[in-house]
């Protein structure tokens, strides 16, 4: 799998796929997409990077351990549900607010926090499995 063409294109392909996964994550609220499918796209990006450049390089690129990313996602998703405790509404109720970024008002919500959590759980766990399998494949 270490042909010159693949190794040269893999970093570009990976960065494009991660960018696309973020796009899919963010459009997921009203259109097809969302945290789960976005996470799968990002995880396959890291898997490709691992195949092309080796697992150690992929782990360095991730910086955090995949399981830690997964844990952070779960924490984020769980805490997004708890925010509604302070507004007298049930667990996991979506709470919306808008902030002003450079003159444009952007709607943010706990729903986005939950979806980002799902995204990170999927990225972390699938990447963890993929990298472990790739490590076993090349003793």
């Amino acid at each position: 799998m270490s042909t010159l063409i693949f190794r040269t294109t893999a970093p570009y392909l990976t960065s494009l796929m991660i960018l696309f996964s973020l796009f899919v994550l963010l459009r997921g609220h009203n259109d097809p997409g969302g945290g789960f499918i976005g996470g799968l796209i990002a995880a396959s990006a890291f898997a490709i990077y691992g195949i092309a450049c080796g697992v150690p390089a992929a782990r360095r690129a991730l910086y955090f351990h995949p399981m830690a990313i997964s844990g952070f996602g779960l924490l984020l998703a769980g805490l997004s549900g708890v925010v509604s405790l302070f507004l007298e509404v049930p667990f996991l109720t979506g709470i919306w607010t808008s902030i002003n970024v450079l003159g444009i008002s952007v709607d943010i919500s706990t729903v986005l926090g939950f979806d980002t959590g799902v995204y990170l759980v999927v990225v972390g766990s699938i990447t963890s499995i993929a990298l472990a399998l790739e490590e076993r494949g090349h003793p």
């Binding site: 351990h65 399981m67 844990g71 509404v89 049930p90 979506g94």
Partner: protein
């Protein structure tokens, strides 16, 4: 203003508009706390010295919220919270009644003791493999299964604790563990898939997944929908989870392989989730269909009891003996389900409390004996009566409890079940329960005779380390066993209220659908 009023009226068709007080959060806290703690532990995977403290703290918080929840449910009736404020049949409800809240409380107590015992039993390697995160996520799944009011959500929580249990089971990756885990995983996945198929069949017929909604609509569908098929499929799927004969083979094949704490928690808690799901679906959702199947359930129950305990008589490894004792206990619980009377069901529920505590304690006792003598085999264990009288005392009490003899907790649920069986006109079922008690006394008495009373043949390699944590864990579990045995009234009262709550589901339905709206 007028526009706002119209908008509010529209919202009332979709959302729960009544404010939710912070006190209502006790119904999700037993699930939310372990999930958040499990996530934190996953992030701190390499900081192994933090694991035990964090997990025990979180389980303590879960335990306290379960105590509050049970108290609330006992005083005010079922407590309901629908996620995301959507109105019940569409939003996913958490609905805690006495049955779910009390079982969740006992399960958390057992898990707390297990987490304390694991401080000594699970070393750094086990922690790095993720013992504590898996434990927390498993308890989140168990708590969710006990408290959810939605049948598909119940499936999800089954998956959550099942996947975590795979992780716990294979912790260490030794050869027999891989072997046990493969059998456990494949057979349990078949059971879960069957459950999922049944849920989709149910959804196709009813168009709803909310259990209160199913319970109140079941009467309308008796003519058109295959309700008996659904009930039979639930019986098979959850019977597999609960390890009822003839679908119990996964349990003896796997429960002796993992670390002893894991085996203790599995033997104590996981099969009871299957029994709980059987109670919820067969008694609350499909009572008439359960009547139709009751004879089949009764034969299954008797076979599970007798064949289970026969297996225990034939084993020499203590962990295998206990695996079969777990199975025979499931048979006793199924006997109450087969009877379906208030007394029989309260016997089942009481037995579930008792069995969770006693089976966990028995596995931990095996762990303590292994820690002292370095073996699980009845061929070589001997002489604890002389060397460790405290072990002998715990063993005696737990043996009496498991066999259903006074002064321990096992007596009372069996009394309830035997009386209910005779009242129903099934003396053979009462006989099966009593015969199981006798055989359990034999199986565990054999263990007591060989491991505790027998004179050591040579200088036994007795470890110098005193199993202090083991004694603490056993003491915490043995105390309720003895207290319930001596003063069972409060527990019987709770079990009777739990049984009444599923036999007459109108209070449960009324708490999920306050105005009887959206028919």
């Amino acid at each position: 203003m007028a526009q706002n009023a119209a908008e509010a009226a529209d919202l009332a068709h979709a959302l729960v508009l009544a404010p939710t007080s912070a006190a209502d959060w006790v119904v999700v806290a037993p699930v939310a706390i372990p999930i958040v703690a499990g996530a934190l532990l996953m992030m701190l995977r390499h900081e192994t010295r933090w694991h035990a403290g964090l997990a025990i703290g979180a389980l303590l918080a879960t335990f306290l919220s379960n105590v509050l929840l049970l108290h609330r449910v006992l005083t005010d009736g079922p407590l309901v919270m629908t996620m995301g404020r959507w109105l019940p049949p569409f939003g996913i409800s958490f609905a805690a009644d006495v049955l779910g809240a009390s079982l969740a409380l006992v399960a958390t107590l057992v898990a707390l003791v297990g987490a304390v015992y694991a401080i000594a039993d699970i070393g750094t390697v086990g922690r790095r493999y993720g013992f504590y995160p898996f434990l927390m996520l498993m308890m989140a799944g168990v708590g969710g299964a006990f408290l959810t009011g939605d049948i598909f959500n119940l499936y999800v929580w089954f998956e959550v604790f099942l996947i975590s249990s795979f992780g716990l089971l294979v912790l260490g990756s030794e050869h027999p563990q891989l072997d046990g885990t493969t059998k456990y995983a494949i057979l349990n996945l078949i059971g879960t898939t069957l459950f999922l198929i049944t849920v989709s069949l149910l959804y196709g017929a009813f168009g709803t997944l909310n259990m209160a909604d199913i319970a109140r609509k079941a009467g309308n569908f008796r003519e058109t929908a295959p309700l008996t098929t659904l009930a039979a499929l639930f019986l098979l799927a959850f019977g597999m989870k609960a390890a009822a004969f003839p679908v119990n083979f996964w349990l003896p094949a796997s429960y002796h392989t993992p670390r002893i704490v894991t085996a203790a928690l599995f033997g104590g808690v996981l099969t009871k989730v299957g029994v709980y799901a059987l109670l919820r679906t067969l008694v609350m959702l499909f009572p008439l269909e359960r009547d139709m199947l009751s004879c089949l359930i009764a034969w299954g129950a008797a076979a599970t009891m007798i064949i289970g305990i026969m297996g225990a008589l034939a084993q020499t490894d203590i962990r295998r003996v206990l695996g079969f004792v777990v199975i025979s206990g499931v048979g006793v619980m199924l006997a109450g389900l087969a009877l379906g009377t208030a007394e029989g069901l309260s016997g089942t529920i009481f037995y579930a409390f008792h069995s969770m505590i006693v089976m966990t304690a028995l596995y931990l006792l095996a762990g303590v004996m292994n820690g002292l003598a370095g073996d699980y085999s009845l061929r070589s264990l001997s002489g604890f009566y002389a060397s460790h009288p405290l072990v002998a005392a715990f063993a005696l009490l737990l043996m009496l409890a498991a066999a259903g003899l006074p002064p321990a907790s096992g007596l009372w649920p069996k009394v309830l079940l035997v009386r209910a069986a005779i009242d129903t006109g099934w003396p053979w079922l009462a006989f099966a329960i009593l015969a199981t008690g006798l055989l359990t006394t034999l199986a565990l008495g054999r263990m007591f005779l060989l491991a505790i009373w027998r004179m050591p043949s040579g200088p036994a390699p007795v470890s110098a380390i005193s199993p202090r944590l083991g004694y603490i864990a056993l003491g915490v579990l043995a105390l309720p066993v003895l207290l319930i045995g001596l003063y069972p009234e409060p527990v019987i009262a709770v079990a009777e209220r739990a049984a009444a709550g599923i036999l007459d589901s109108s209070t449960y339905i009324g708490s999920v659908f306050p105005e009887g709206a959206v028919q």
